[in-house]
């Protein structure tokens, strides 16, 4: 399987990374090299094998559904590139 320029553009958009036209061929080459490398997994017989979901056999712990932390908007916002009156600021999303 080999991916083309249109696919690179599509996944870059899905990943929300802007790529310049000049980078596309180079990226396609590198991605194809990696996809070529992982191709060998097709040789493995995985019939009836469960996919791994947890590497250590443990049950995820449950806790009471209560608030344990929070109420500190100042700390949450202290690293924000732009904020105002306790909110993150972004360009207009809804017209």
């Amino acid at each position: 399987m080999s991916i083309d320029a249109a696919t690179v553009r599509r996944i870059a958009h899905l990943a929300r990374i802007k790529v310049e036209d000049g980078e596309i061929d180079h990226l396609a080459g590198e991605i194809n090299s990696i996809l070529g490398f992982v191709e060998q997994l097709k040789e493995v017989n995985v019939d009836g094998v469960e996919p791994m979901t947890s590497v250590t056999p443990m049950k995820l712990p449950l806790r009471k559904d209560v608030v344990t932390d929070g109420g500190d908007a100042k700390k949450v916002l202290m690293n924000a590139p732009q904020s105002e009156e306790g909110f993150f600021l972004v360009p207009k999303v809804v017209e």
Partner: protein, 493 residues
């Protein structure tokens, strides 16, 4: 007092308690060494004021007879660990000047036990790399050089700053993280000890996430005993990480010097791969011989799915990374590059903030998780992962206590030597270490000798889940048999 930086962590601990020197003297000696070693680029941020304040507190405690387990021990911290009030970037431009208002669980436990922070250490951007060349702060230079050459070598990666700092005596120990070999490979390249504990042994809370089902924190130090001392403080249950196991942390130091008589050590035939220098094969045989001499039994074993670990890793890890790194959007923290709308803001920010290797992995991860490809790539890789883990389980069921392998397929290479067109060439570095992450097992790298150009080579021991103690006992035997690897004289200043 320059000899204070040559102490082992255990010697420093004992000397501090015996009041042979003070914690402030230890901190100052290391800060002075760091100042002289700027050209190695191991530290990306020094915290001398914090170090002195912590050391003064340690001296008070020692004076009062109230010393904690790591009292006054000067450490470096990989920049992947969030440190409260101290810039944390994962060595990526996208985190910019991020200053966490919280402390990672692992580092908070080190400070709880009295350790002193010297600063933050360089690493590959988001821990993606095997040479520390992808860092936004530039590459780390290894303190090691080939015999008769002054070519700059890589310290390995992704925890390259940690490994270089420990080897160059710029700290008594350091923290690292290991997703595919990022502790064990740089430890092997720099002639020091590094252990990746079992998945779930250390909390991942407050560590910048790369691939959450593979990431684990672990220590670097110059002796096996020193890593045992550090791991005891780093490990332990944390309700803030739901994959962190609720299980008592043993006193790992007690495993040092324990007899390995009667232990069964597996030698996996699939780790004999083409293209690996003969001297690495020889060292591997030598390691088995040392363990045999100490009373262990050496058995040939088979881990049939070994060759599929690396390709499966290069699906699973990028997939998880593409999901984890979705949070860097230019809105809540870090870099922001404006755009005409919010989508363009995301795309511009991520284009400017991520380096080439990170972009490549996010794109691969996005592709293998995208509609129509999920089953063919991601699901298949997770099934292969089950088979890799099963290979180890079968082996341990047959009574094998631990597995001995080389740590890396070569010694350290030159800066820029492997940054060619094909990223897979760099990925092959992790061929011996990545299986361990895929199966969630503990693995330790111990220096075992030097190659023909006088560069260090390491051996790896792989253990049963949560049996780090056996690895410390066996690692100590290798260390004693090999003799301490003489670390390089400071040519850097």
């Amino acid at each position: 007092m320059s000899n204070l930086t040559s102490l082992t962590l255990a010697e420093a601990r004992d000397g501090l308690r015996a009041k042979k020197f003070s914690a402030v003297e230890i901190a100052d000696a290391h800060l002075a060494a760091i100042e002289k070693a700027k050209s190695l680029n191991a530290y990306i941020l020094e915290t001398p004021e914090k170090a002195r304040a912590m050391a003064e507190e340690s001296d008070k405690r020692i004076k009062a007879g109230d010393a904690r387990p790591l009292e006054g021990i000067a450490l470096g911290v990989k920049d992947l660990f969030a440190t409260e009030g101290v810039r944390t970037t994962a060595c990526s431009k996208i985190l910019d000047n991020f200053v966490p208002p919280y402390e990672s669980t692992v580092t908070s436990q080190l400070w709880r036990d009295g350790a002193v922070m010297l600063g933050k250490l360089n690493n590959d951007e988001f821990a993606m790399g095997s040479s520390n060349e992808t860092s936004a702060f530039g590459p780390v230079v290894s303190p090691w050089q080939r015999k008769g050459s002054n070519a700059k070598l890589v310290p390995g990666g992704s925890s390259g700053g940690s490994a270089a700092a420990v080897a160059a005596k710029l700290c008594l120990g350091a923290t690292g993280t290991d997703t595919g070999g990022s502790i064990r490979q740089p430890a092997a390249f720099t002639g020091i000890v590094g252990i990746k504990p079992t998945y779930g042994r250390c909390s991942r809370w407050g560590i910048v996430a790369f691939a959450s089902s593979l990431d684990q924190a672990g220590p670097f130090a110059r002796t096996v005993q020193d890593t045992a001392i550090l791991l005891r403080s780093m490990a332990g249950h944390d309700p803030k990480d739901s994959t962190c196991i609720n299980m008592e942390v043993p006193d790992y130091e007690k495993a040092i010097g324990k007899s390995v008589k009667g232990m069964k050590i597996g030698i996996p035939k699939e780790y004999r791969i083409d293209g690996v220098p003969a001297e690495i094969g020889k060292l591997w045989e030598q390691g088995a011989e040392w363990l045999k001499k100490a009373g262990a039994e050496i058995v040939e074993i088979s881990l049939p799915h070994t060759k599929y670990a690396l390709p499966a890793y290069y699906i699973v890890a990028p997939a998880e990374a593409s999901s984890n790194l979705a949070r860097y959007d230019g809105v809540r923290y870090g870099l922001r590059v404006p755009g005409k709308d919010v989508i363009e803001l995301y795309e511009n920010t991520r284009a400017a903030g991520f380096g080439a290797e990170v972009k490549r992995r996010v794109l691969i991860g996005t592709y293998v998780l995208s509609a129509g490809y999920y089953d063919a790539y991601y699901l298949r890789a997770q099934k292969v992962r089950t088979l890799i883990k099963r290979d180890f389980e079968e082996t341990f069921k047959q009574g094998v206590h631990a597995i001995l392998t080389p740590a890396t397929p070569s010694s350290a290479f030159g800066i820029g030597e492997k940054s060619g067109a094909d990223p897979v060439e760099m990925y092959l570095n992790d061929v011996f270490t990545v299986t361990v992450n895929m199966a969630g097992l503990p693995g330790i790298a111990v220096p075992a000798g030097l190659d023909g150009s006088a560069l260090p080579l390491g051996l790896q021991l792989i253990g049963r889940p949560f049996d780090e103690e056996t690895l410390f006992s066996l690692g100590h035997v290798i260390e004693q048999s090999a003799g301490r690897i003489e670390l390089p004289d400071p040519w850097w200043g």
